[in-house]
Symmetry: C2
Subunit: 202 residues, 2 copies
């Protein structure tokens, strides 16, 4: 009998707008400093581009997302909440949240749970998987904006759906990857899930 | 070529002495109330036995492990830290921590990372997997004191090594389970790992 499709959803850059909030906070806190406009973002690690503007600029950048309240304050990516809810209600689909804390975990970890509470509901903590290594998490699809996801298991079980973000627009897809340009209906996210669901139950 | 053995280590009841600290704190906070001696523990959920002593007793019990500082204060299980370190240094073995937060995650989640910092070192946060569903975590062995671990994947990939705790001493092993009576050298934990490592590389 057919088994459920298991979808792993990244948070930052997929459900939660890390890039937008980061820039907003940086510009508010350091109005006199140079910054990296969203359309100039390139490369997964935002601090790298800020360090290129100056050692002190890079240090300030780190501080922005290490600050208490940062992760809780992230705005939902457009259409993300509606899509996550719809996905979780789909027959034959199991949804988990698969997210990595930053190294300075002090505020980040609890705030990621609080963010799920706030935007999706208390019961979503049951779906949460917090991990630095996503390759050892079992799933059919991992929807994640980080272009190159590596870890202890090679290859991982999941197919990587590269969720388009400012920093990865020009990245060439690696073998097996498919792109997802957002959560709005025309993005085709439902088709990606349906195709995979048929593939696993062939 | 042989692949690494992936070992998932539970925290509460395997690395960290949840039961001992729970009882100690309960008796200190409620010296006039009935309690459940460790040797009388039966059934995974400690609060269930406390509720059987009275509704108010059960409520007090919940409060003990929901309190700020509880998870951070847990003493290491005898031999656990040494074993975890040795396991992490073993050739051909990858170690992850696989632990579930309580529903009231407020203090629990950050304190579990802090506990790893304190007892094993800062780099161990890289090995942390926080999840309510352990069945969707990829591993060869899950060392865990909870007798019946279920979730979205059935059967899970890992073989369950039932780590003996006060509450599970009389539990009959289910198919595929093996027992591990602690971390001291005579417990045979190294043999369990070695046997599994040969099995996966046959
Ligand atoms: Mg992301
Ligand atoms: Mg346990």
């Amino acid at each position: 009998s057919p088994r459920n499709l298991r979808v792993l959803l990244d948070m930052d850059g997929v459900l939660a707008d890390f890039e937008g909030q980061f820039l907003k906070n940086f510009r508010e806190k350091y109005p006199q400093d140079p910054f990296v406009p969203l359309e100039d973002r390139s490369g997964f690690y935002v601090t790298k581009q800020y360090y290129a503007l100056g050692q002190d600029i890079g240090t300030k950048a780190f501080g922005i997302y290490e600050e208490k309240g940062f992760f809780l304050s992230l705005q939902p990516i457009e259409g993300a909440i509606e899509a996550a809810r719809e996905m979780a209600d789909m027959e034959g689909v199991d949804v988990y949240i698969c997210t990595s804390p930053i190294k300075k975990y002090t505020h980040c970890v609890v705030e990621k749970y609080q963010w799920l509470d706030k935007h999706l509901g208390k019961e979503w903590m049951e779906r949460m998987i917090l991990t630095r290594d996503k390759t050892v998490i079992n799933g059919d699809l991992l929807i994640d904006d980080k272009p190159n996801i590596t870890g202890g298991m090679s290859p991982p079980q999941w197919q990587h759906v590269l969720f388009t973000s400012w920093h990865n627009r020009d990245v060439t897809l690696q073998g097996g990857q498919v792109r997802l340009d957002g959560w709005l209906p025309h993005s085709g996210w439902r088709d990606i899930l349906e195709r995979k669901r048929q593939e696993i139950n062939k």
